[in-house]
């Protein structure tokens, strides 16, 4: 199928969002200090919106597999359709895994399925890279390649629009007045921007010697029994679970029941495999009593289990866990340690 490509000005895009906001909840990235946070679209705050940039603080899963989802209270819920604009390539690739877990297998998770169907995803190209970015090492790129409904690539005061799905095409067709024809020069500019950011990500990968999926393949299994190595990796871990919670591919959850005056409720809530209670059973048995075993479990799941069952390395190179870790545990350094078979203290930047 030939790619359908258009062009839209920033002003028209925000006008489109304003029109859509009566029937949709629209989330866009806002600048907050050095970071980008998703918040609800507010036409009054347009100047704080940054659709380019890099990935936001919240992972994409927050919208589709939210931290706390009510899954039982007897009442049907009505949800406005959602539009998320500004989703980056790293987050989009996490959908491969989230879809696999929640839509495939013995049973479909109807709450995830509904959110997924109810959410229109507008991707955007990264316009720069951060030191913690390493999507290229994880078979990704700093611009969306698939899994978006439409993608926007910023050029000066407008965006190149690429249609990625039937839902995306419907949106464009419903508001054709906003979408203008593009030129070959526009595409050349998009290509030049993409190459620039790709070089930046590659620079950070090379600078640190970050390993790629081909190098990582089999590394967890190979070093599985090197207890000292895993203990070293975990030496500054405080079991906060932040790496799990910010990770776009971490999917584990617990079921939480609550008794209220309005009746009994059940929630599906994010859980973290770094917590001591994660695998523990009521009788006290726990296959991962030691902290290093739990940290190892995280890497086993991402770099051994999912490559085996899904042919997918469950890391998108977004770098959120590196930023979130209060113990300065750097996933890139752990992977390097596994490939080299020894632990190198991270350089002080």
């Amino acid at each position: 199928m030939e790619k359908k490509i258009y062009k839209i000005t920033k002003k028209d895009l925000y006008d489109l969002f304003t029109r859509l906001s009566s029937e949709h909840r629209i989330f866009v990235p806002y600048v907050k200090g050095e970071r980008l946070h998703f918040g609800e679209f507010d036409p009054g705050k347009e100047s704080d919106i940054e659709l380019g940039g890099i990935r936001q603080t919240q992972p994409l899963k927050s919208f589709i597999n939210p931290a706390r989802e009510k899954i039982l209270d007897g009442k049907p819920k009505e949800k406005k359709p959602v539009i998320i604009a500004g989703v980056k390539g790293c987050d989009l690739s996490s959908l491969i895994l989230q879809d696999f877990v929640f839509l495939k297998g013995d049973a479909e998770d109807p709450f995830y399925a509904e959110n997924r169907k109810n959410t229109l995803i507008i991707g955007t190209d990264c316009t720069y890279a951060k030191e913690t970015c390493f999507c290229l090492a994880m078979e990704g790129a700093p611009y969306p390649q698939k899994y978006f409904d439409i993608n926007l690539s910023g050029i000066n005061d407008h965006f190149i629009v690429e249609v990625g799905s039937a839902a995306g095409e419907r949106l464009v067709n419903n508001f054709r007045m906003f979408f203008k024809p593009h030129t070959a020069t526009d595409l050349n500019k998009r290509q030049a921007n993409r190459e620039k950011v790709t070089r930046e990500v590659q620079y950070f990968i090379d600078k640190r010697g970050t390993q790629n999926t081909a190098q990582i393949k089999g590394a967890v299994k190979k070093n599985y029994n090197l207890v000292q190595l895993w203990q070293d990796f975990a030496s500054t871990c405080v079991e906060c679970g932040a790496c799990n919670l910010v990770c776009p591919t971490c999917h584990c959850f617990l079921l939480f029941d609550e008794k209220t005056a309005a009746g009994n409720k059940r929630f599906r809530m994010w859980d973290a495999c770094l917590y001591n209670t994660f695998a523990r059973v009521a009788g006290g048995a726990n296959p991962r009593k030691q902290l290093y075993e739990r940290l190892r479990n995280r890497f086993e799941k991402k770099f051994d289990f999912f490559p085996e069952v899904l042919n997918y390395f469950a890391c998108t190179g977004c770098g959120r866990c590196i930023e979130a870790c209060p113990g300065d545990i750097d996933l890139r350094e752990v992977l390097k340690g596994l490939v080299l078979g020894k632990w190198n203290k991270p350089p002080n930047d």
Partner: protein, 272 residues
């Protein structure tokens, strides 16, 4: 929309006190819930939480379900306070259950420990349904003391089901009235009880017991692929999504909870 996390309400019809910390609850779900021996279900204390248990009743009895439950945590503590007439929730069944087809024509060497006899009771009833399809049924059951034996009043009746059934109960510590074997259940696993080349061994009990029973069975010459172990991990969602019960490449909830030893022997910490 089918909600895999929703439970069916079930009335507690009867509570039998098996030991000081184990009770058998007979539940009548509002709508019939079938299962096959070895599969598990989540039992909910409404508004409090749920926990996974393997029914201990005959899978041919469609109307009611028995759960034999040890008081050990938050949910089981509350369950133990429940009385006949109370309403709980049940969802499932999950997992694969015992491969009864593969057991046909074989000698079955069943080893249970403590409350681990619960799933085995469901298995035994399933075997009794078609008792002549199995060449021999040997059950060796170990309990801590005579007071800790579950299904006390039933075990003798199991012996009478068919001549090719051999049942022995052993206790770690005896008392004045105890006439049977005193010692860990491994002490009654002797050579010659079964034809090791045509045997399926089925083990369920506390992790430490399963570990040493497995080693003993291997010593007796039983094949790794013929030893069926109940890997009761922290199963929660039951459908391979929540991540809690993963052991190596498997989820205990959907790939188990019964695994043959050859499949899991190289994985870490299977006995914890």
């Amino acid at each position: 929309m089918t909600n895999p996390y929703a439970y069916t309400e079930a009335e507690i019809l009867k509570v039998v006190e098996e030991t000081h910390n184990i009770k058998t609850f007979t539940l009548k779900p509002r709508t019939e819930i079938g299962f096959r021996a070895g599969q598990f279900m989540d039992v909910t204390m409404p508004g409090i939480g749920e926990a996974p248990f393997t029914p201990s009743s005959n899978h041919n009895s469609k109307d009611t379900l028995d759960f034999t439950i040890m008081r050990t945590g938050r949910v089981t503590g509350l369950l133990h306070q429940a009385k006949a007439g109370d309403i709980v929730g049940v969802r499932g069944p999950y997992g694969l259950g015992y491969p009864l087809k593969d057991f046909k024509g074989k000698e079955l060497f069943i080893v249970g420990g403590g409350v681990g006899l619960a799933p085995l009771r469901a298995l035994l009833y399933a075997l009794f349904n078609e008792v002549n399809d199995y060449k021999k049924i040997v059950l060796k059951y170990g309990a801590r003391s005579p007071k800790d034996i579950v299904f006390k009043n039933e075990i003798d009746s199991w012996k009478a089901k068919a001549p090719h059934i051999d049942i022995e109960v052993s206790v770690d510590v005896g008392d004045d009235t105890w006439k049977g074997n005193v010692g860990l259940v491994t002490t009654v696993l002797k050579p010659g009880l079964v034809d090791i080349n045509n045997t399926a061994a089925i083990v369920c009990g506390p992790p430490i017991m399963m570990k040493f029973v497995t080693f003993k069975l291997l010593d007796l010459g039983i094949k790794e692929s013929a030893i069926y172990l109940s890997m009761e991990k922290n199963m929660s969602c039951g459908i391979g999504k929540c991540g809690h019960c993963r052991i190596g490449p498997y989820y205990a909830c959907k790939d188990g909870p019964v695994f043959t030893y050859d499949k899991i022997k190289d994985l870490q910490k299977i006995w914890d």
